[in-house]
């Protein structure tokens, strides 16, 4: 798959997919999408990247162990549920916080962090799998 055309076009494609994935994740609470689909698209972009540039290049680019990203996702999701311990409510009771930043109000909520956790889990895991399947020689998995 090592052709000039693919190699050159790939970064553009991958960047588009990544941005799109974040978008899909964040607006999931109000429209179709969400963490899972977002993470899936992000992982797909990693797969495209890997096919175009090879696995070592992707690993170098990611820096972090993909499974650690997944682990971070679970921790994020779990802790966002644990927060409700402090409001004397059951596990995973949502907490909403509205940040006033200048003219815009940014809603922060535990479900949002939860969904972001989902995003990271899916992204990390599927990237790990894709890269592991792609890699042709022993890698530090």
């Amino acid at each position: 798959m090592n052709t000039v055309i693919f190699r050159t076009a790939a970064p553009l494609i991958v960047a588009t997919m990544l941005v799109f994935s974040v978008y899909v994740c964040l607006r999931g609470h109000n429209e179709p999408g969400g963490g899972f689909i977002g993470g899936l698209i992000a992982a797909a972009s990693i797969a495209v990247f890997g096919m175009a540039s090879g696995v070592p290049a992707v690993r170098r680019a990611l820096k972090v162990d993909p499974l650690a990203i997944a682990s971070f996702g679970v921790l994020l999701a779990g802790f966002s549920g644990l927060l409700s311990l402090f409001i004397h409510a059951p596990f995973m009771t949502s907490i909403w916080l509205y940040l006033e930043l200048g003219d815009t109000t940014v809603p922060l909520s535990t479900p949002m962090f939860f969904d972001i956790g989902v995003y990271f889990v899916v992204f990390g895991t599927l990237s790990a799998i894709a890269l592991a399947l792609e890699s042709d020689h022993e890698e530090d998995l």
Binding site: M1, F6, I13, T16, M17, F20, V24, E31, P32, G33, I37, I41, A44, S45, A47, V48, M51
Partner: protein
């Protein structure tokens, strides 16, 4: 006929056309004869499905379906690349018989 009604009608027509296109494109997936033919047809089918989703978006007025179509294009690309890689490495071996029949 109002514009809305026209859009409604045109989306119905489009859906039917696209439905036919879906069915037509699977002919090639089924009959092949070679693997690249099938891959090509599958790639086409994702495009058709994308159009189908777009048409539903128009029909229902839910523009958010657009994103599904775009995402399909994104992943369809990945699928085609993966299949092309398969063809590059394994292709002809799985198709020797089909090729003989063709030539």
């Amino acid at each position: 006929m109002s514009a809305a009604a026209f859009v409604d009608l045109s989306s119905l027509i489009a859906l039917i056309l696209l439905g036919v296109a879906l069915l037509v494109s699977i002919i090639r997936i089924v009959i092949g004869p070679t693997l690249p033919d099938r891959v090509l047809a599958l790639d086409l089918m994702t495009v058709v499905a994308m159009g189908f989703i777009g048409a539903i978006a128009v029909r229902t007025g839910l523009m958010l379906y657009l994103d599904i179509a775009i995402a399909l294009a994104l992943l369809g690309f990945l699928a085609t690349v993966a299949l092309a890689r398969y063809i590059l490495r394994r292709g002809l071996k799985t198709d020797a018989a089909a090729m003989e029949a063709q030539s």
